[in-house]
């Protein structure tokens, strides 16, 4: 697979604050690449540097094997950008907006008409073509924003937090659309602080925090980075605290706790961990209620690598 985007040693500072610190990224053709990090971690700054909107202090950026500059129009024509903020003309209708932005990339009128029709169909805006943006709901507005960014059928699509403040139904529609765009051949860069979204659609993920890349890989590879591979929680558990010692002695147990009749056991690797815990409880005639087994999330990865939960660091 060819490299579509290559970022080497990118450094971007705002006075005292280093927003992006020596960042390296390589994104291959056909990937859905996730850039995951809390708010203020440097995701949008990275994207803006990538698009040559922002000056940066150090580093090199190549797209499609060519150096990216503000006047690299031959590169820009193959990029579609969906910014965090909705960027459409309030005074133009849905159709006119999509046609306008598509026209910045595609000069052939006949081809453009087809592209615009495809984008309208793709984003499910057929019934709203004559509406002005003000008349659209938040979700539809986001879809229009996306349609304006992808109407020219770009090879590389960059989505910077496109689902912020979007209802779950529209969010699912947007995520499904991104997967479809990828299936149609586009390479996608997707930034978000919603780890579930990134897990759902991205084939490879880079986690960044305070401007630094702290981990990169597939979600499976990332999850392997954490010691805690399984967490078992048992509610309404009527047991003696002294039993904790026996549970801690079970194979692969990292640690366990018992508080407010809730037993939580963390494991590192191993199979049939749940069975072993339940056997132990039955052996001591302990009654219990609901049982949960959770596999690690990207939040656990973030927590382990940074010492703070992804959600704690937002904001």
């Amino acid at each position: 697979m060819e490299t579509v985007v290559k970022i080497s040693g990118l450094v971007k500072s705002y006075k005292e604050l280093t927003a992006v610190n020596d960042l390296d990224l390589e994104i291959k053709e056909g990937e859905v690449f996730g850039l995951l990090g809390p708010n203020g971690s440097g995701k949008s700054t990275t994207i803006n540097c990538l698009l040559s909107l922002l000056d940066f202090d150090k580093g090199d950026i190549e797209i499609f094997g060519k150096k990216m500059t503000p006047t690299a129009y031959d590169i820009k024509k193959d990029i579609g950008v969906i910014m965090q903020n909705v960027a459409v003309f309030e005074e133009l209708t849905v159709y006119e907006n999509i046609d306008y932005f598509c026209g910045l990339y595609v000069t052939d009128k006949a081809a453009r008409k087809q592209y615009v029709d495809d984008a309208i169909k793709f984003s499910g805006l057929e019934e709203f073509v004559k509406f002005r943006p003000k008349k659209l709901s938040g979700g539809l507005l986001r879809r229009l924003n996306i349609a304006c960014g992808i109407a020219h059928k770009p090879k590389l699509i960059i989505l910077d937090e496109p689902t912020v403040a979007v209802d779950p139904q529209s969010r699912n529609k947007i995520l499904e659309g991104i997967i479809e765009l990828n299936k149609n051949g586009a390479t996608v860069i997707y930034t978000s602080h919603y780890m579930e979204e990134v897990e759902q659609i991205c084939s490879r993920i880079a986690i960044i925090d305070k401007g630094r890349k702290i981990a990169e890989g597939t979600k499976e590879e990332l999850k392997k980075m954490v010691k805690n591979t399984e967490t078992i929680s048992i509610l309404a558990c009527e047991m003696e605290e002294s039993l904790l010692g026996e549970i801690n002695a079970l194979p692969h147990v990292l640690e366990s706790s018992y508080e407010d009749k809730k037993l939580v056991v963390h494991f590192s690797g191993g199979k049939h961990n749940l069975l072993r815990v339940l056997d132990c409880l039955q052996k001591h005639d302990v009654s219990f209620g609901r049982v949960y087994s959770e596999l690690p999330t990207l939040n656990d990865v973030f927590l382990e690598l940074t010492g703070t939960a992804l959600r704690d660091s937002e904001g």
Binding site: Y14, N48, L51, S52, L53, L54, D55, P70, T71, Y73, D74, K76, K77, I79, V81, M83, N85, V86, A87, V88, F89, E91, L92, E96, D99, Y100, F101, G103, L104, Y105, T107, C148, G149
Partner: protein, 385 residues
């Protein structure tokens, strides 16, 4: 690429609510209010009255005597045209400030090659009469000198014959092409206001073109259409939009309100349109400065437009003359003053040179402001977004 941008810029521009309100509805409403307020006053001010002037003498006795003789002798409708008070500069300006005279004449000596200068408290028929009289006096003095020098050893009769022929031809000239009443100036300033409110559209261009000021700007900046093409298309579309608004304003005031702009209406449209372009470029330049948001820049543009209109006399007919006294340079660069003056000159002076002078000034300022805007927005990368 250009036409595509132009089409949508024009389409979106004409649908902006602020444009419709400030450039079409508001001038129509204000013009109608002016008409209602001034129509009765206008009807009562058309009787000629002797004009009080102050004369500051600064020439030799011969020239001063000549001028005193002429100014005392000229009449209009059997009334003396001027009542002159000869005094010092300071006292003359005080008289003007106290509204006791309509103009202050600073004597020059046409026989020595120095021209007359005049300061007035307001534009209008009186100021025009004084100015025309001074022009005529200077012109005749020059003719006399030329006739004397050209005749060489010619006879007295030859000289007088040449001079009277010239004087007659000058005397037959039409003095004005339209209504010189001071209340019409409010409508000139109304046109200036419409033109300057074009700054709102110019502001939209600047903000919509910069990635650090709007999401729209960011999206446009990442497209493969060069910024120069996008901004040029936007400016052209806005100039067209401004032309439509000024056409509406001039047409409404002329044909609905019946304001007499004289018999050179085409040039009134031209002046209003060039003024509109100036307004757009002003907004474009203001919008390109700094990182303030749309609301703040909108407020600045509105304030600047209204301020310039205020100093050109939209709210107080005598304001421009007051500015002329204390900071005459400001009237030469104030877009609102230039716009209203251009229409005024058109209606008052037979000679078009003053009109073209204002038009050229407006074009030069438009070009300068547009270039400044371009220089400030040409930045391709930003330090922060």
């Amino acid at each position: 690429m250009f036409l595509h941008n132009f089409k949508y810029e024009l389409l979106s521009g004409m649908r902006v609510k602020e444009v419709v309100i400030w450039l079409i509805i508001f001038p129509i409403a204000l013009g109608t209010c002016f008409k209602v307020a001034f129509s009765s006053v206008y009807e009562n001010t058309m009787v000629f009255e002797t004009i009080n002037v102050a004369v500051v003498e600064d020439t030799d006795e011969f020239s001063a005597q000549m001028f005193r003789k002429v100014i005392g002798d000229v009449k209009m409708e059997d009334e003396p045209m001027f009542k002159a008070k000869y005094t010092t500069k300071e006292k003359a300006l005080k008289l003007l400030e106290d509204d006791k005279v309509s103009a202050v004449i600073f004597e020059g000596d046409p026989f020595e090659g120095s021209g007359f200068k005049m300061t007035t408290a307001s534009n209008g028929l009186r100021a025009t009469i004084v100015q025309s009289f001074l022009d005529q006096y200077s012109h005749n003095a020059e003719l006399l000198l030329t006739a004397v020098s050209d005749s060489g050893s010619g006879s007295y009769e030859d000289i007088m014959s040449t001079l009277s022929a010239e004087v007659n031809s000058v005397a037959k000239k039409q003095m004005t092409h339209g209504n010189t009443d001071m209340y019409v100036q409010y409508f000139y300033n109304l046109l200036a206001m419409v033109a300057l409110y074009g700054s709102l559209s110019g502001l939209h261009i600047a903000i919509g073109g910069q990635a650090n000021l709007s999401a729209l700007g960011a999206r446009r900046n990442v497209s493969p259409t060069p910024k120069l093409i996008q901004i040029t298309a936007s400016l052209c579309a806005t100039f067209v939009q401004e032309a439509l608004c000024t056409v509406i304003a001039v047409t409404y005031t002329r044909f609905v309100l019946g304001i007499d702009y004289g018999d050179r209406l085409g040039f009134v449209y031209l002046a209003a349109f060039i003024g509109g372009c100036l307004g757009v470029s002003l907004g474009f330049m203001v919008g390109s400065i700094g990182r303030m948001g749309m609301a703040a820049k909108n407020a600045i543009c509105n304030a600047v437009s209204l301020g310039l209109c205020f100093f050109s006399g939209l709210m107080d007919g005598g304001m421009k003359a007051k500015v002329e006294l204390s900071a005459p340079w400001f009237n030469r660069v104030n877009p609102a003053a230039l716009i209203s003056d251009s229409v005024y000159c058109l209606n008052v002076y037979e000679d078009m040179s003053r009109y073209w002078e204002k038009i050229v000034s407006m074009i030069v300022i438009t070009v300068i402001l547009t270039l400044l805007g371009f220089v400030m927005t040409r930045r391709r990368r930003y330090a922060s977004l």
